[in-house]
């Protein structure tokens, strides 16, 4: 780690390599002794140009590109995309397909929350917690593999429905796995709520009040831990969430402990929902017929990813490819809170505060074209201008 000294001020850059998490992002913390007095976040190190690439592929090909936006919540991205495209094409997937989509989404939430739980434990230096929660996470990974054929990028969706069905054996194995995971989740909830060492790292750390959460536009479990009742599954039910409603888990405390508890308690909702789907799985077809060309129009789709609200905007010009696709992932909404909450905390708490929002950098990197009123078409920079822009940018940051 490089440190840079200035008169009475110390700026510690963290990242872009491995800033607490194995993803690129750059943070600059100004510290006074051990206390953070200013924080700056800089993103864009994993920009992959997915939105642009999507414009060059057909609607069907895009589904698999979109699924690869995120390795952890791949299904929910594909689901949001499918629902948006289906909305444009006035096609509705059959009820059985919608229920299976929700089932996979909830299994994915379980795997994602277990993954996050382990990583955050690791950030707190609690590696026992990390190892055992990840061992138990294998159970849900096995369920997903058995169900879809893959551990990640399940490829469960097709435009207009899903690829596979559930049989009795699958149902029995999911039930067994869910029972096991429920028991383990109860245990981990006990750990995060009572372990003395762990509470030293979470209780009263990174407190975000409800007003702050609302102003900063926090989403998902991060917002719910600050008592903001915001959950797309409830606010605007999609797929089969109308038939299978969930309860919103809220907490008033707004600190890291609350974020742990909210996520873990949410898992019980997921277990409950999965059992209910297995009990009352509607019969019928798995896919509806989907046209190859999607009628011109615009669609916005919001879904609740494990990390919070995920938004898709799609514009079609009536051809077999999208004209524009815009993705907004939950991490970008929650990152502001990290920058704000880090101030006043010890530097050592910062990794935990960052991990507390369950960030996922590569999915949230988007490029923006800046247009000013003078040049409405945007600006093209030459290589030298771009270099100068970079130098000026950092000079401004240092001030």
């Amino acid at each position: 780690m490089n440190t840079k000294q200035e008169p009475q001020r110390f700026v510690i850059p963290i990242g872009p390599q491995h800033p607490a998490l194995k993803e690129p992002g750059n943070f600059q913390f100004t510290v006074d002794g051990e206390i953070v007095t200013k924080a700056i976040v800089r993103l864009g190190y994993a920009h992959r140009g997915i939105e642009k690439a999507a414009e060059e592929r057909t609607w069907i090909q895009d589904l698999y590109l979109i699924e690869r936006v995120c390795g952890i919540c791949s299904h929910i991205h594909a689901l949001a995309y499918c629902l948006a495209v289906e909305q444009l094409a006035h096609v509705e997937a059959p009820p059985r397909a919608q229920a299976i989509r929700v089932l996979v989404a909830e299994l994915e939430r379980i795997h994602s929350h277990f993954l996050w739980m382990g990583v955050s434990g690791h950030e707190a230096g609690f590696d026992t917690f990390f190892m055992y929660s990840w061992r138990d996470r294998e159970r849900v990974m096995n369920i997903l593999e058995k169900l879809t054929g893959n551990r990640v990028n399940y490829s469960a969706n097709v435009l207009g429905g899903v690829k596979f069905d559930l049989d009795q054996e699958q149902i029995a194995s999911i039930r067994g796995g869910i029972d096991f995971l429920e028991e383990r989740t109860r245990h981990y909830l006990d750990v995060v709520a009572t372990d003395f060492m762990f509470l030293q790292r979470t209780r009263g750390i990174g407190v975000m009040s409800r007003a702050q959460a609302e102003i900063m536009g926090a989403v998902g479990p991060t917002a719910r831990a600050s008592n903001v009742a915001r959950d797309v599954r409830k606010d605007a039910p999609y797929a089969a969430y109308k038939e299978y409603p969930v309860d919103i888990i809220l907490d008033e405390r707004g600190d890291l402990e609350a974020r742990f508890e909210v996520r873990l308690k949410e898992l019980f909702e997921s277990f409950h929902l999965i059992r209910k789907i297995l009990d009352t799985l509607p019969g019928g077809e798995l896919t509806a017929r989907m046209p190859r060309k999607v009628p011109a129009g615009e669609a916005v789709m919001r879904v609740e990813a494990p990390r919070g609200e995920l938004l898709y905007f799609i514009r079609s010009n009536g051809s077999d490819k999208p004209e524009r696709l815009k993705i907004r992932t939950p991490t970008i909404c929650n990152l502001t809170s990290v920058v704000k909450l880090a101030i006043g905390h010890q530097l050592a708490d910062v990794p935990m505060i960052l991990a507390g929002i369950d960030p996922c950098f590569s999915c949230n990197d988007r490029s923006v074209q800046i247009r000013t009123s003078n040049d409405p078409d945007g600006r093209m920079l030459s290589w030298d201008e771009l270099r100068q822009h970079g130098i000026d940018f950092y000079k401004r940051l240092e001030k």
Binding site: N153, T194, D195
Partner: protein, 141 residues
Amino acid sequence: MRIGVMFPDVSGALMRHSATEKYPFQRQGVTARLRSLLKWNPEACTGCGLCAMDCPAEAIQVNVLDRKAKRFVFAYQVDRCAFCGQCVESCRQGALEMANDRWELAALNKEPFMLYFGDPDDIKTVLAAEPAGEAGIPADK
């Protein structure tokens, strides 16, 4: 507040065997739905090219030499394939299927990753027609 809440997990695990699999001496069974190498059924194929059109990785080329006589060469680039299963979904004739047991695909050169299915003579014709280094000729749509 308590101390050492996870101690029972640790002590319980001491009695367990290691979970590491001794591959390649020991192989875990695969799930029935695992998607591995693509299988093509020449009898059912009509050469429509939908599979190639929908493949997100452009891993398939359907070369139609004679549609009536069902002379097709199905070129499949394994190292491009993302094993997504869309081609199987797109094929209306049910001519495609994914095996679930052919997942050990590592090789020392690229040769095993370029598969041609079809009549051996037809494959020769297709290979002769294509420029060196490129796979397949464009599908006849």
